[in-house]
């Protein structure tokens, strides 16, 4: 323990943390508390007045079957996005590690999707999968699949999952590659001498050794799928057809800004806030475990 005497009281430390505190208060704490306050209000139909109703908004959500469906949908969506993007990133990182010539070029190419704005990424996929103009529905026609994500909810879901996962592959790839490169080469070589083939080396040595990264990425990807996929969904399906791609974060927007149920929307965002706080706690508690070589 340092003695207090080492820190003579002076306004300087407070001054130094002030900007950080100000930003946090104005841009994070204040809006969050506004949302919390709003979730206790119900507006009248014309937006002329509002009534303080305590937890009625939450109670309505608790009983709302649409909200339950959105919850379930979000779970499926986020698990699939995380699994797909992490799985694919893992494969790519495994290959990238073996590449010697042109490694930088290959890696740079793989990082590009991360630099694309979500809405643009969505637009890209919309064009590719456009039922009338898109190149992929054209090819799918040959294998007997009629693609129309404007009508088919399952296809719409598949499309947003694909687009969301694609965008996140680059990020996961970077982390997986770094994790793999931190494994000493000699450990892999020792396994090779012990008689393990490439597949076995991967599953019994590399995969367990990068498991902290996998866990970290799982949390990050879940958070991503929960919140940051809004732009993609908005550009690709707008939550439709029907509500087949309306995940929680999209429902917050839809109910609040389209349906103008500000109180209900705020209550939903408070629930999302609790969820992300829970995930962050989990991450901070367990992700800090590192592997020692």
């Amino acid at each position: 323990m340092l003695k207090r005497v080492h820190f003579p009281s002076s306004p300087l430390p407070y001054l130094l943390v002030a900007p950080q505190l100000a930003i946090t208060l104005i841009f994070f704490i204040w809006p969050a508390s506004q949302a919390m306050y709003q979730s206790f209000l119900i507006e009248d139909a014309f937006g002329l007045g509002s009534e303080f109703v305590w937890f009625e908004n939450f109670q309505i959500l608790w009983e709302d079957s649409h909200y339950h469906a959105a919850f379930w949908r979000t779970a499926v969506f986020s698990v699939l996005v995380a699994a797909l993007s992490m799985g694919f990133a893992l494969i790519l990182a495994g290959f990238a590690q073996r590449v010697v010539r042109g490694a930088m070029f290959y890696r740079t190419l793989l990082i590009w999707p991360y630099a694309i704005a979500p809405v643009l990424a969505g637009a890209l996929w919309v064009f590719m999968f456009n039922p009338t103009l898109g190149i992929l529905p054209y090819f799918l026609e040959f294998v007997g699949v009629t693609w129309n994500h404007y009508l088919n909810g399952g296809q719409a879901m598949a499309l947003v999952i694909l687009a969301a996962a694609w965008k996140q592959v680059a990020y996961n790839f970077l982390f997986y590659l770094a994790a793999m490169q931190s494994i000493p080469n000699s450990v892999i070589e020792a396994a090779a001498i012990d008689g393990a083939g490439p597949g076995r080396r991967f599953w019994t040595i590399i995969f367990p050794l990068i498991s902290p990264t996998t866990f970290f990425l799982l949390v990050i990807n879940m958070v991503y799928a929960f919140f940051e996929t809004f732009g993609i969904i908005h550009a690709v399906t707008q939550g439709g057809p029907g509500s087949s791609t309306t995940i929680l974060v999209y429902k917050v927007f839809n109910d609040g800004f389209v349906g103008l149920d500000l109180g209900g929307s705020a209550a939903q965002s408070v629930i999302l806030m609790v969820l992300v706080i829970a995930m962050t706690v989990v991450q901070f508690r367990y992700v800090e475990r590192k592997v020692e070589y």
Binding site: S186, V187, E189, A191, I193, D194, A196, T204
Partner: protein, 351 residues
């Protein structure tokens, strides 16, 4: 158990050749040490035998079978790495059993072998620990254990002791030697430490710049170094090397001194005198101006210059010696302990 034959072995990275025409026959059960300064290609040579580096040209045979194209796992070898390369997520037992599981040995057989190896290495009480809970010396033992449970034809050691402290290094050195003699497995050991090389090896392969300078027993290397490099590398303190003139058996040193050699040579030579072969002698021909004295207890090192010149010389005198810096000391040397090298080719002149 197997012998190893290296035939005209060459390794290139792109246009750069790093190992040049290595030849060597290693007998069954022999302990070979490859020694040389950093960057001489010794680890590369070992990794080629292990199958971790490809062979550019030439041939490696283990037990009379060409292994150039074989995967490391198919060569029936075990390797101990400098950083031990233990699997951090597995217990000591799992580390040692890993290779055996892959070979699909029965559970009982695996347990028997692991425990036998653990007893030999005295690590039985650590079998259920993870590598991070072990000290450096214990990790080293586990790495050795992982090698011996496999019961391979060849052990390969890549500077296994360089991460240990000096005392532990001496102890492990002896243990490795004892273990190898007990198991009788052909071994190749790479090190840059000449003491380690001299004490461990049945024979030493001295590598320099990708060339084999000399391949022989430690005593051969010490008594009859084949080149200036070996002469300077083996023995501590290093051999004194003085450019001199030879005429028949008489060698004239700069500064006027003359020593006799058992060899007939003429013209420019490089004269090699081991510090410990210089015998204090009031009437000796070699005179040294002492500049610094190192008392080592068992012997005393006298650092200085050859009188009348500025060639640095070291002499090692048995026991304590009260010689003060600034004094002049005279030494003689037996003619059969005089080494002569060609100054151009740096090869040995005396037979």
């Amino acid at each position: 158990m197997a012998d190893i034959t290296l035939t005209d072995l060459t390794k290139s990275y792109g246009p750069t050749e790093v190992l040049h025409h290595i030849e060597g026959d290693i007998n069954d059960g022999e302990f070979i040490v490859i020694v040389g300064p950093s960057g001489c290609g010794k680890s590369t040579l070992l990794r080629m035998v292990a199958g971790l580096e490809t062979v550019t040209s030439g041939e490696i045979q283990i037990g009379g079978k060409r292994v150039n194209e074989l995967e490391p796992s198919a060569r029936d070898i075990a390797m101990v790495f400098q950083n031990y390369a233990l699997y951090p997520h597995m217990s000591v037992r799992e580390n040692m059993a890993y290779g055996l599981k892959i070979r699909k040995l029965s559970k009982d057989e695996i347990n028997r072998r692991v425990e036998e190896a653990a007893d030999i290495l005295e690590i039985r009480q650590y079998l259920d620990r993870k590598p991070r809970q072990l000290s450096g010396g214990q990790r080293q033992r586990v790495a050795m254990g992982r090698a011996i449970v496999r019961d391979p034809q060849v052990f390969l050691f890549d500077e296994p002791l360089s991460n240990l402290d000096a005392k532990l290094r001496v102890q492990m050195r002896l243990e490795i030697r004892k273990l190898q003699q007990r198991l009788g497995v052909t071994s190749i050991y790479v090190t840059h430490d000449q003491v380690e090389a001299m004490t461990l090896g049945d024979r030493l392969m001295v590598l320099n710049g990708g060339y084999v300078e000399q391949f022989g027993t430690p005593i051969e290397l010490y008594d009859r170094p084949a080149s200036v490099f070996v002469a300077g590398f083996i023995g501590s303190p290093a051999m004194n090397l003085i450019p001199s003139q030879a005429s028949g058996g008489a060698i004239s040193l700069p500064g006027g001194a003359q020593v006799n050699s058992a060899t007939d040579a003429n013209g420019d030579v490089l004269l090699g005198l081991r510090p410990e072969h210089l015998t204090p002698d009031e009437n000796g021909p070699v005179s040294i101006d002492v500049e610094m004295v190192e008392q080592l207890g068992a012997n005393t090192l006298l650092h200085g210059t050859l009188s009348g010149t500025n060639h640095e010389m070291v002499a090692s005198v048995a026991g304590h010696d009260a010689a003060a810096s600034g004094t002049q000391r005279r030494f003689s040397i037996s003619p059969d302990l005089v080494h002569l090298f060609d100054p151009q080719t740096e090869k040995r002149l005396n037979p």
